[in-house]
Structures are given as structure tokens and as C-alpha cells.
Amino acid sequence: MTEKKDIFILGIESSCDETSASIVKNGTEELATTISSQIDIHKDFGGVVPEIASRHHVKNITFILEECLEKAKMKMEDIDAIAITYGPGLIGSLLIGLEAAKTLSFLYNKLLIPVHHIAGHIYANSLVKELNFPLLAVVVSGGHTELIEMTDHFQFKKLGGTLDDAIGECYDKVARVMGLEYPGGPKLDKLALEGKITYKLPVPLKDDSYNFSFSGLKSAVINLVHNEEQRGNPLRNADLAASFQKVAVESITSKVRKAIKDKNIKNVILAGGVAANKILRASIQNLSDELNVQLSIPPMKYCTDNAAMIAAAGYYAYKNGRISNLNLNSKSQDTLN
């Protein structure tokens, strides 16, 4: 009885356009992960089409689960609990993972652990390095821009967030105006490295809050592009990308600086799809060095949606007794708490 038993969590994620399953040991060791991405399918439509995404999830779900178990050389019987992204996300997509998780929970009499998608992005870091509290999670993705303070495992306090567009959404829209193919955010990031900061853009929401606003910046870029077009000036895409990035990243960094100081933060975590952004990474790295706090940036493979992060978060949720019955439902929106 004295020997500590290993805990194996099966994570399932289907909140947007990736169907993914993963098995993680003790919240830190990834044994196997399978992902089916639909990026190429949605590219033709300039963004994720919810109904198409749902249709692909249902096609993929058993393949993804089977491959994951095979890769880990495990059977469902070896799993201790099933962690599932219950929200937020596209409701039709979420439901496929949810029904699969609930069914497996019934078939094998396994505990069901609901995991908030953002908790997953934060806990992606526990697959790399132990979390150190008090912690500040900088969640930046296509759907989120939030600063979250954590005083312990699964103790979340939202300090602030975007008042309008998410940063990733803003990136994709700006990229679209510049004629970059969906998903344009990463392409814009790459292009910015070749450009100079020549265009003047407004720094959004320079105030004393922890909030962000990106719709004004987005509009400023759209107006700038239209004005240049009307004047017949050729658009210097790389310079515009660089100028836009500078302002967007500065806005995030200044609020992160304030939070680190105010809340006595020991560990900053960058989480979400935009955590892959090179200039944002560099800027937060410099800030962390300057203020002498630990910085955790997940490897690229954990920046996009994946089930490993859900299984990792699921382990700590399990330890915190966050268990659900089979009446669990998906939620397109829900506060992290």
C-alpha cells in the first residue's frame, strides 16, 4: 500500500478542428498522442466551418482513439480516468469528443474528468517543467487573450482579457487583408522577420487594467491598407507585418509586466496557439529575464490543440476531485475556474 501507483489519463480533445487523443502518465509524461488536423480542409473556406469540422470529428474519432492506444501499447482497462475538453469551443465539435468520452466511461466504468480547454493549454507546460506558483498564464490563441493568475493547481483567477477580438483572430484578419492564406497568423509572423517597422499604428488600450483590445488595431490596419490602395501606393507587406507585430506584442508585454510586478509572480507561462509566435516569445523571454521570473513556453507541438495537454490537466483535476457523472454536457463558452 505504501507504493505510489502510477495514474494513466486518457485525454480527448475535439473543441475546434483537431481530433486528438493522448495518454499521459502522472500528469507529466506523455506516452502517446494522436492528432488529426483539418487545416487543409478548412483552408478552402478561409476559416473553420463548424459543420464541416463536426463531420470530420465523427469520422476520425475511433481511428484516433485506436491509434493512440496502440502507440501507447495499452488497453482501455489500463486507463485510470478519461479527461475530456467540455468547453469552450465549437459546440458541434465538442460534442463528438464528449460523447466518445462518456461512452468509454460507461463501457469501462472509468472516471470522467471535465477539462476546460484553457486549463489544457496552461497544463501543456507541466509536460515540460513543473509549474511554480504563484504563476501567471498568458493565454493567447485564436479564441482567447487572457491573463490568469494561479496560486496553486486548479486555482484560477482571471486578471483580465480582451474586450473584443482575441489576438489570434486579429492576426488572422490582418493577414487576410494582406492577402495571406488562412491560417494567416503564422505566415504574418514569418513575414514580419523580413520587414522594418515603418508604418505607424496605435498601441491599443494603454491603461492601468489587465485588459486588451485588438479590434481598433485591426481596423487601423484595414484602413491603412485601403488608404494606400486608393493612393496607389504599393503595400510593403513585410513592413506592415513587422509594424503590426510590434504594436500587438507590446500591448501584451506591457500588461504581463504589470501583472508580474503586482502579483509577485514566480513563473510565467505562455499558452495557446499564438504562443508559437516568435516575436511574442522573444519579448516575453526578455521581460522574464529582466524581472528574473521563470518562463515556461511549451514546445511548438503543444501550442496547437492537442489531447496531451488535456490529459495533463486532467491528472491535476483528478487529484483535485473534479469528477463528473455521465450527465456532463459540452459548453461553447465557460469561465475557467
Binding site: 475511433t62 460534442l95 455521465l326
Partner: protein, 207 residues
């Protein structure tokens, strides 16, 4: 032989466990939006009623459409994960077949489901349930034109249509459905998918 039947293609949950020719448990209840929450717990409650385990099922028959896209996916996901994971034979039938088979009238059966904007999902079966018109997404007017060519028919639906005076309500006859389809060829669970009979709007506007 024990059969599990699942149909979540409408706002109703239609599910049953049948043992040979005996109905062990059944549910026919409208849940609407909460179907995703309630479907699995309700199915589980039938197992508990009969002291059955998940592995005690010998075959799963799931309705894979047409109907509510989200609804179909709920039942299909439960059924395919179940069949794949426990290696249980599985097959699909259409909601329209289930509607026709369940009819007590000795007429041509025209099951139909409202697909909005003047369209329906419909099929036509003769008195012996032989298919006359295959399940399709069709303008209601066009369906009515087809119907006029037929001698003695009934419309079966749980939806209402201004254009139709008499509609027989649908309530599944689980024993008839199971006995009709229990020997239908099994399908690899990985390949069990909804048959929506309609492209998504995004795909249609791209055509």
C-alpha cells in the same frame, strides 16, 4: 441475441434493448437541446434496469440519418465508439426506414422530416416496405408530385407541414424495427458515419 437500438436523429431519444423477440427496455422521450447531455445516461439506465453490462449486447443498430445533423452525430458517436471498443457487430438504418417499418397502415409509406426552406428529407416505400423512392433531400412540392402518382399512401412525420392535411404521427415499433434489420450486414465501426443526405451550406455555396 440482445440488440441495442439507438436513434437520436430528431429531438427525441428513441432507444431500446431487445432480447430475441422481447422488449427489455425502451425510451421514447423528447429532449431537444439537452439530448447531448441525456442520451448516454438514459441508455445506461436501460442496462441498469435489466442488470446488463455493456458487453452483454450482441448487436447494435444505429440510425445514421437523415435528420438533425448534431442529433445524428450524438447517436452515431456513441454507437461507433461502443462497437469499436468492445468489438460488437454494428449496422446502420435510416430514420426514414424506421418510420416506414413502424407504420400500422397497409398503405404506401411516405416518411418525411422537415429540412427547412421548403425542403424535406423523404423516401417512399410500398405496403411491404420495399423502397420506391430512395431517401433524399427533396423539395416538398416535388415529393407531393411523386405522391400524386401513387394510389393509396400515408405521410408519416413528427413535423407539421401546412401543405399536408393528414400526417400519421411517428412512434417507433422497436420489435418490428429490430426483427426487420437484425440480420442486416454488419459494418466496420470505424466506417460507421452519418448519412446527412445534404452537403454543408459552406460546401454548397462553393459548388
Amino acid at each position: 441475441m440482445r440488440y441495442l437500438y439507438i436513434d437520436t436523429s430528431s429531438s427525441y431519444l428513441y432507444t431500446a434493448i431487445v432480447e430475441d423477440n422481447k422488449l427489455l427496455s425502451e425510451i421514447r422521450e423528447e429532449f431537444g437541446q439537452s439530448l447531448s447531455e441525456i442520451a448516454l445516461p438514459k441508455i445506461v439506465s436501460m442496462f441498469k434496469e435489466n442488470n446488463l453490462l455493456a458487453k452483454d449486447i450482441n448487436k447494435i443498430i444505429v440510425v445514421n440519418g437523415p435528420g438533425s445533423f448534431t442529433g445524428i452525430r450524438i447517436g452515431v458517436t456513441i454507437a461507433k465508439v461502443y462497437a469499436w471498443s468492445l468489438d460488437i457487430p454494428i449496422t446502420t438504418i435510416t430514420s426514414l426506414e424506421a418510420m416506414a417499418i413502424s407504420s400500422r397502415n397497409d398503405k404506401v409509406h411516405i416518411p418525411l422530416i422537415n429540412a427547412r426552406r421548403g425542403f424535406v428529407f423523404a423516401a417512399i416505400y410500398d405496403e411491404n416496405n420495399k423502397q420506391i423512392m430512395k431517401p433524399q433531400h427533396i423539395k416538398l412540392e416535388a415529393l407531393l408530385d411523386e405522391a400524386k402518382k401513387l394510389p393509396n399512401y400515408e405521410f408519416i412525420s413528427n413535423d407539421t407541414f401546412e401543405e399536408l392535411e393528414h400526417i400519421s404521427n411517428y412512434s417507433p415499433d422497436y420489435l418490428k424495427i429490430i426483427s426487420n434489420f437484425k440480420d442486416k450486414e454488419e459494418i466496420n465501426p470505424h466506417l460507421i458515419n452519418p448519412d446527412y443526405l445534404k452537403l454543408t451550406e459552406a460546401e454548397e455555396s462553393k459548388k
